[in-house]
């Protein structure tokens, strides 16, 4: 039982990396981007292919990060320079990436059984594979959170946040909004691909279909986290995303534990997100109602 919980939590931290990427797009840049559905498996297949051909698992995640960032730059270019709306940009990118991912992998899926991964390296130190995954997940999440906060508080970071928060203000203050959006796309998709690389190593395989539902997981993590911790500061909202990702994983694993057919899990994850969104909407309305009665 303890091992099941440990497994959930450790996976949650790895998924949190992906959720942080989605957070950058949806909350910092305020763009409804679906590229994650393509860049998450991109990161997984790049890493898996690299490891399968004998590269170091650390080099593999670096390659995934770069592949994700390049994809992000392309997506950002499509959105800003070709003036294609964010939602459509994401659809173009995820559709195009499906073929790219198949090409890279050379097969619909490959296994990393018996290959050296970060998890197998960590298991030479700790015996339990869930503890190994937890160490990896928490360390990477911590590093990414710290780097991201430092970046978002830098001069470029402020310009990026202003672009997402209020474009009229950003233009009036001579901010290069197109460049900021492209940087944001690159950061977000790089982070999401990195998560793909980590999870491929954790699960020991990569599959071109593993991107389906990525956005649902990312958004559910963000919204669950914000419901619980709020978003009063950058640090707090990033902690919210991370804890949201962990809680979401526990919820999904509980559903599986109760004996749901794993085939149906995407349906349940969609239902979970729908419920979370509905509850969020309801409490918001309640808050407004309360505000009004105070004013009266």
């Amino acid at each position: 039982m303890l091992n099941i919980i440990l497994s959930s939590v450790s996976q949650g931290f790895l998924w949190a990396v992906m959720a942080i990427g989605v957070y950058i797009m949806y909350r910092i840049l305020d763009i409804a981007d679906l590229s994650a559905e393509g860049t998450f498996p991109l990161g997984a297949v790049v890493a898996a292919k690299a490891i399968a051909t004998g590269l170091s698992p650390w080099l593999a995640i670096a390659l995934s990060l770069i592949a994700g960032m390049i994809t992000g730059i392309i997506a950002g270019f499509i959105h800003t320079k070709l003036k294609i709306p964010g939602l459509l940009t994401g659809i173009l990118v995820l559709t195009g990436l499906y073929s790219v991912n198949l090409r890279i992998l050379g097969a619909p899926n490959i296994t990393l059984l018996g290959k050296e991964t970060i998890i197998s390296q960590l298991r030479t130190i700790v015996d339990n594979r869930n503890v190994a995954a937890l160490i990896l997940g928490t360390t990477i999440t911590l590093i990414i959170t710290l780097i991201l906060i430092l970046f978002l508080k830098s001069e470029v970071g402020l310009a990026l946040r202003a672009t997402g928060a209020n474009e009229i203000m950003a233009v009036a203050n001579a901010i290069a909004t197109d460049s900021m959006k492209i940087i944001g796309y690159a950061l977000a998709n790089g982070t999401i691909a990195l998560a793909g690389a980590l999870l491929a190593q954790n699960y020991g395989y990569a599959d071109v279909g593993m991107g389906i539902g990525t956005i649902v997981i990312g958004l559910a993590s963000i919204i669950i986290g914000e419901r619980l911790l709020g978003a009063s500061s950058l640090l707090r909202s990033l902690l919210a995303v991370v804890s949201g990702a962990v809680i979401y994983r526990i919820v999904i694993d509980t559903v599986l534990y109760l004996g749901v057919n794993p085939q149906d899990i995407k349906l349940y994850s969609a239902i979970v997100l729908a419920i979370v969104l509905w509850l969020g909407h309801r409490t918001k309305e309640n808050n407004l109602g309360r505000g009004k009665s105070y004013a009266a």
Binding site: F151, K153, V156, N166, I168, V171, A172, N173
Partner: protein
């Protein structure tokens, strides 16, 4: 000459039944240091005029020259380095989920290259605190508060400070007190007048409030149907009273 508009025309929905000439053959020059109130009722192209000057919109015909350069050949971003703006909607001028000091940091680096250095340096913070305490609204103690939680009036004052913090060549105020309650509107207007006078800031203030147009500014331009119907400056402007302005306005209507 800081700003020149020559025979500027702007039409919306051209070649349709809804065609409206927002600005019809507009010509006027702005000298350095002038504080011009631009008065006109709704739909007389006042906001369009400011957007044309800032390079956000393009005229159909005519020339606009700012600091000796053709505005049409410059990007809004490049122009923004020399132009401060305050908008009618208090939400437009500040980024709501950035703190007061972060908003000010962005404004104070307007036109500079952004690097990976810390966005709000301790020195900058100290200077923001000074600038805010001059305004006397107590905002200097709330530097880390998100701008989004401020009231409309506070947000407009913050925007005004942001717009002028880098001493722009030109300040554009687009009915910046129209969305505020009368008392707050009064405070923001007084503060605007003080800042403009303090720095000799060249300013174009668009308004539909006759009293404000008379009270503030060294020159008054009245627009009607996209044309200048009155342009009063100097002593004549100082001695202008409301009846005269309304008379000018109604004469124009009769004439139409």
């Amino acid at each position: 000459m800081l700003l020149k508009l020559d025979s500027v025309k702007k039409t919306f929905c051209s070649q349709t039944v809804n065609e409206t000439a927002v600005l019809a053959d507009l010509t006027f020059y702005v000298e350095e240091g002038e504080f011009i109130s631009i008065l006109g009722s709704n739909g007389t192209g006042k906001s369009t005029l400011l957007n044309l000057i800032a390079g956000i919109e393009r005229p159909d015909e005519g020339e606009i020259e700012f600091c000796g350069q053709n505005v049409l050949k410059q990007s809004p971003r490049k122009l923004a380095a020399d132009i401060g703006r305050v908008f009618q909607d208090p939400k437009s001028g500040t980024a709501g989920n950035l703190s007061i000091q972060e908003n000010l940091a962005i404004a104070s680096r307007r036109g500079n290259k952004n690097t990976l250095r810390r966005g709000v340096s301790p020195q900058a913070k100290a200077s923001f605190r000074d600038a805010l305490s001059d305004l006397g609204l107590g905002l200097e103690d709330r530097l880390s508060t998100p701008a989004g939680v401020l009231s409309g009036g506070q947000r407009q004052v913050l925007t005004l400070l942001m717009a002028t913090i880098k001493k722009p060549r030109l300040l554009l105020l687009d009915e910046h007190t129209a969305a505020l309650d009368p008392a707050t509107s009064q405070i923001v207007s007084e503060m605007t007048d003080r800042i403009v006078k303090q720095y000799g800031q060249t300013t174009l203030m668009v308004t539909h409030n006759v009293d404000a147009a008379i009270k503030y500014g060294s020159r008054l331009i009245m627009l009607n149907r996209g044309r200048i119907v009155a342009d009063v400056r100097g002593n004549e402007k100082q001695s202008l009273c409301k009846d005269e302005v309304l008379a000018l306005y109604h004469n124009e209507l009769d004439w139409e």
